[in-house]
């Protein structure tokens, strides 16, 4: 269980998060939503260890986590996949994280092949990632993080560039990863894309949590700044 306690964060000028408290349970499929500037991306980046915990704390099974602990526990998929694509082929890109974790070559090949198949990217494995369409690049970015099997997979608007087919494919993959025990947290403005999968919604308003409940409760709530 990942527990966020009184988390606050301040950029140079703006306060992005103000005493946020929330829990991500094991196996959760959680949507994080709210208007532009409400703090969604900042929260995800702190959980992923990309931004420091300035105030408050984050605990895993009761133990306070350092920024480095968070990096090992959570995988983060950027809103813009190009921000995290490094390899000169899709295969290299997916293998990058595993290689850095010291996974043996034969095992690495097996895992890369498996995840490329799951994401239906096998045919493109020797292509340059920079030649992919936005939708394909978004799938590659998720695959490259999912292959590391993080306990918590955090995704910032993962289907925003995808067509219906792409959304369906990504949702199927996220469903499978969730069933394998990975907790999924998605920042999105389009709740309706995940209604079949998500169990909980957290809504942020100006850096504070003002809703935490089931997706059905959220849909019937008066909150109307996102597309339900």
């Amino acid at each position: 269980m990942l527990q966020v306690v009184n988390l606050s964060f301040q950029y140079k000028i703006d306060k992005a998060l103000d005493r946020v408290n929330l829990v991500v349970h094991d196996g959760d499929f959680l949507l994080l939503t709210g208007a532009n500037g409400s703090g969604k991306t900042t929260l995800l980046k702190i959980l992923a260890g990309l931004l420091p915990v300035q105030s408050g704390e984050i605990l895993f099974d009761g133990k306070v986590l350092s920024q480095n602990d968070l990096r090992m526990l959570c995988g983060y998929v950027f809103h813009n996949p190009v921000n995290q694509i490094i390899g000169s082929t899709l295969e290299e890109d997916v293998a990058f994280g595993l290689e850095n974790m010291g996974v043996p070559r034969s095992k690495m090949h097996e895992q890369v092949t498996e995840i490329l198949e799951i994401f239906q990217l096998s045919q493109l494995k020797n292509e340059d990632p920079m030649s992919l369409s936005a939708g394909q690049a978004q799938k590659l970015a998720i695959a490259s993080v999912a292959v590391l099997k993080p306990k918590y997979l955090l995704l910032d608007e993962p289907t925003s560039m995808l067509d219906d087919l792409g959304c369906h494919q990504v949702n199927q993959v996220l469903k499978a990863l969730n069933q394998m025990g990975m907790s999924i947290v998605i920042s999105t403005h389009e709740i309706y894309q995940f209604t079949d999968l998500a169990r909980r919604v957290i809504h942020l308003c100006r850096g504070t949590v003002d809703f935490d409940g089931s997706i059905d409760e959220f849909i019937s709530s008066p909150i109307d700044d996102v597309e339900k």
């Binding site: 369409s133 067509d163 087919l165």
Partner: protein, 229 residues
């Protein structure tokens, strides 16, 4: 006379793609013999699946890429011989932050206008910010400290400031919340009323179909005109 002044004076803007084909690596064609005309007040919506070639087509329209064969002409002349073609185009990329290059929101909005040697920079920035709903308090912020939706609005303000004739928008609704999408829709409506042209690639069709007077579908690099989506 410079092209932009000529278009302004005559009030005629016509961009024509004739048999445009494109390949990134000379082996596989991404676009096949595209023909398309964009005129003043046109609102062109391009749909298609991921990987169909939509973003490549927008880069060709914007003059960032050159076709392997075929021509792109503005008012009958090749865009590649018109030094001020870029002054007439406002191209917003898929990912807003890809276009940022300044330390502050103000400088980002002013960037293109300054580079084009335009006058009234302060006024242009204020006006573009007002149109896109960017508060003056944000002017001193780093563009990278903004939320995804705020970045999107900044990217559009940055190209509106130099007053182009054609807005080219690649997935402009991505990252915007519900209010932001409704706001942008209103901006695009007003843009059209001001006799300006727009080309949009988007999956968020419900905000655009009734605005569009030309709808194209791109499938495996081949463009076809459709009545509705």
């Amino acid at each position: 006379m410079m092209l932009k002044n000529e278009v302004k004076k005559m009030g005629i803007f016509q961009l024509e793609l004739q048999d445009v084909s494109f390949s990134y690596d000379n082996s596989k064609l991404i676009l096949h013999e595209i023909n398309m005309v964009i005129e003043s007040q046109d609102f062109v919506l391009i749909t298609g699946q991921n990987g169909a070639g939509k973003s490549t087509l927008l880069r060709l329209i914007s003059g960032i890429l050159k076709p392997k064969s075929g021509t792109v002409k503005i008012n009958g002349r090749s865009i590649y011989r018109q030094k001020d073609y870029f002054k007439m185009i406002g191209f917003v990329m898929q990912y807003a932050e890809d276009s940022f290059c300044c330390d502050t929101v103000f400088d980002e909005i002013a960037f293109a206008s300054r580079n084009f040697g335009l006058d009234r920079i302060e006024e242009r920035v204020q006006n573009a910010a007002r149109i896109m709903g960017i508060d003056q308090e944000a002017f001193s912020k780093s563009p990278y400290d903004l939320s995804n939706g705020e970045m999107r609005r900044l990217a559009i303000a940055s190209v509106i400031a130099h007053d182009p004739f054609l807005l080219v928008l690649d997935e402009p609704f991505v990252g915007l919340d519900k209010a932001g999408k409704q706001f942008l829709r209103k901006v695009l409506e007003n843009w059209k009323k001001n006799n300006r042209a727009t080309v949009v690639v988007s999956h968020q069709l419900k905000y655009l179909t009734d605005l569009a007077n030309k709808i194209f579908n791109l499938q495996s690099g081949r463009l076809s005109k459709v009545d509705s989506v």
